[in-house]
Subunit: 350 residues, 3 copies
């Protein structure tokens, strides 16, 4: 992984009055450009095909000020981005397509690229969640599966390829050649995905040992085919469940559960401080709430999540802490401006 | 129950220019404080533990102007609240935790505390719904259960402990010691929860015999584990359904059904006039719509419901009747100011 | 069908400074009147019963400026509407209740009434979808049903009467006298309903061969009883699935799928150009997304759909292309004003 000092050195030569927000044209990029433009920051879209550019004809107010074409995410030209004082907003597609390639990219990344390494490696993520005191599903050895389990592959692939198994036999039958998978106990309850923003700079929000935490919004993921599998079941159409994320729906949480959501977020942030030097910026906990109102966490997304796309003009939570339409993406832009003003970009980038 | 004259006498000594909106810090309190502050009313939060106060660090624009600590909801200091010209907004947590304790509390409660007595007592609520002409599920004697039924306990407990039984045997087996339960036929269809506001003072809205009715918003409750039980079913994980409310999702209704929703609300309000002197303020009908677009009601919430938390800045319905972001909570604050101005607080408090 | 020249001749005599937006008081009429009023256009509601008028007491900001009573939708007085320079916004209830009666109505209809003929006739609609290159479900001969199929009747009836069959025997058993039905393969995946607006006048948006396309919003329909059938299943209550649309829920799509959504919309619009002279105004594709992120289309609604009612003040998509709260209905009003100014009403009416 590129040295933090190298990134800090790049940052030190940036013209803090001409910063750019750059990201790959996918995942949450419309929201990211829209939010940055509201804060009057220059925006750069990295497109890997002409297909992606269509969106900006349809959504001109979310179009980047400038587009850079790249043959693939791996071909991002670091020098060009640095010459434009660019800060990359990492999102799920960057994590998926760049993978370890992000580790050495010589461009400042908003947040902490070490956190994305923890997101990418399910065992590291698990360790993080457990050290943060979160209830997590039991992990099974392939040969000792004694209940329903979810088999998950490495990386953020939007749920594609997840599968359910109920025994070791079924596992070996379905995945004879599996490598780098995690076998998690299937938890019962319902899913909620709170969208957090952690700032080491802000003086407002829920206090952690080294900064302040906010809840920006919340969603429930909508997965094909499982989230309408009841329709096929009742219609008598047999299907195999699949978990490809295709969209997101808004959900507001029982108010008495919000203190727990804050506590979990705080613990995740403070554990990140210890494990890898912090988690500045947006993140999300993938949670299950059971009938006794107990939370379990099955994943951490250490960057902006697609569920925030529901709220480009703010949410039922963000308006309790911000005037105007404060999305997660716009909050990132506000943070960049605040850090630039305080000459603390190194605290929110790596 | 405390005499209405006693409450009116307290109200008559209030300084109508220094009214406070007070509530327990739970359920819909963020929305209530946020809405009251928008209307420039003083707000008082009653906290029973430090945990609740966390929310106000995270959500400063929804923090009460003043916090009063109480060991438990039963220990609310009436004199202190009265000295601050406080009007209590009753919500689901107050109904649940104070229970009958609310009956004698010597502080003006917004709405009619008699209506909460009807909400608390399922048999009274049933009588109210039937007298209002609503279609209601059949009620079964424990020894005559011949179809799927929901067993419901007294009070607003957010769905916790509800269970399904299919026969008297199963009922006695599951609930050998049950007291004060109601056994309702299980209705098929889908649930919708319209959020009403009834004003005896306003001259706008849908006319009832003694005032005007509005529809503020609408939601569908999200319950653990039942509302993702299809995921466990298709995954081959056997579960017992549970009905603990953990959140809410927005839903807009087929427009041609709205006149029926208005008529049902009107009938509920007019029946409340006759049964216990009226239902000023917010309420909700828990409805099932079947495939023939017929409504049945299975509960009334005689106060603000948590589903309104989706809409602190107004909804797809409220903007058809109000400028700006008119939530149910803000509507309450508007009503308080209107009543104070007209010297009619006694019409909207008991 | 009334001659296009006749409609153009009526339009040529309209006072373009005194245009009215007229529609039947149902379906999306609140949104339509609200949006048109925001654009300061005169609005006319056609009511067929007193029941409908209730809504305007409850929702005064969405009330039409003027109400015309008609015994039935078929009794709409064309001369009266023409004398008021009225342009009719066709919606699902008009398509359902007027049916072929719309063909000859001597009042300009916004959009292209030929498109509604294609919507009404499932075989024409299918032809349209296939020519547009959309993946569509297989169609079955009643005597050759070899898998789960949906049986659909003619016209927009909001899903009422749809049924599932699994064999020819079951079909003939359930529908011994069926006429004018379509038997579609039951597709698995999840449903999404993008709301498009196509303008032959605008110079902004996603370019098609003859105009520009926008995405206004998106929803998922909520049908009774199927969309809560998992609750009855887990409760052990046997039901027969039904598909009556009772409401709509918001959903935001995985961003990387939006280019496909634009392409499908473009193909539908360009095919409409060839088949029947174009599709100006709003329309919707009823889509299934499968686990491989492939779309299939099972219907086209060639006019405003009820899912847009979620967004009378704009959506997470419309704010990327428009300032202010741009609903589909308001977009219609903007288009009318633009066409009137450019003297091109004939391009957006038939």
């Amino acid at each position: 992984m590129i040295d933090k000092k190298k990134i800090d050195s790049i940052l030190s030569e940036y013209d803090s009055k001409k910063l750019s927000i750059a990201t790959l044209c996918s995942h949450t990029s419309l929201q990211i450009f829209y939010g940055a433009k509201k804060e009057k920051l220059h925006t750069i879209g990295i497109c890997t095909n002409e297909q992606q550019k269509k969106l900006y004809d349809a959504f001109p107010k979310a179009a980047p000020d400038e587009i850079i074409m790249a043959d693939s995410p791996a071909d991002i030209d670091a020098n060009e981005l640095v010459s434009k004082n660019a800060l990359i907003v990492p999102h799920g597609s960057i994590v998926e397509y760049l993978g370890k390639g992000l580790d050495d990219l010589a461009v400042p990344v908003l947040g902490n690229r070490k956190s994305l390494m923890f997101e990418r490696d399910r065992r590291k993520m698990y360790d993080w969640m457990k050290k943060a005191g979160l209830r997590v599903p039991a992990i099974f050895n392939p040969d000792k599966i004694d209940r329903a389990c979810v088999v998950k592959h490495a990386g953020a692939k939007g749920g594609r390829g997840y599968a359910i198994v109920h025994s070791s036999e079924e596992y070996h039958d379905k995945f004879p050649d599996a490598k780098d998978v995690m076998i998690q106990e299937y938890l019962t309850g319902v899913r909620v995905y709170p969208h957090y923003f952690y700032s080491p700079l802000s003086t407002k929000g829920f206090k952690t040992s080294s900064g302040h935490l906010e809840i920006m919004s919340m969603d429930r993921r909508f997965e094909s085919n499982v989230d309408e599998s009841y329709r096929t079941s009742i219609a008598g159409v047999p299907i195999k469940p699949s978990f490809t994320v295709v969209g997101n729906e808004p959900i507001v949480l029982r108010e008495s559960l919000l203190p727990d959501v804050l506590d979990m977020g705080k613990n995740v942030v403070e554990t990140a401080d210890k494990l890898f030097g912090g988690l500045p910026g947006p993140f999300c906990l993938e949670l299950i709430v059971d009938e006794d109102l107990q939370f379990s966490a099955f994943e951490i997304s250490a960057r902006i999540v697609a569920g925030t796309n529901l709220f480009p003009d703010g949410s039922f939570y963000s308006l309790y802490s911000h005037d105007g339409g404060m999305s997660t993406a716009r909050r990132i832009a506000v943070e960049v401006k605040d850090a630039a003003k305080k000459k603390k970009l190194d605290l929110i980038c790596y």
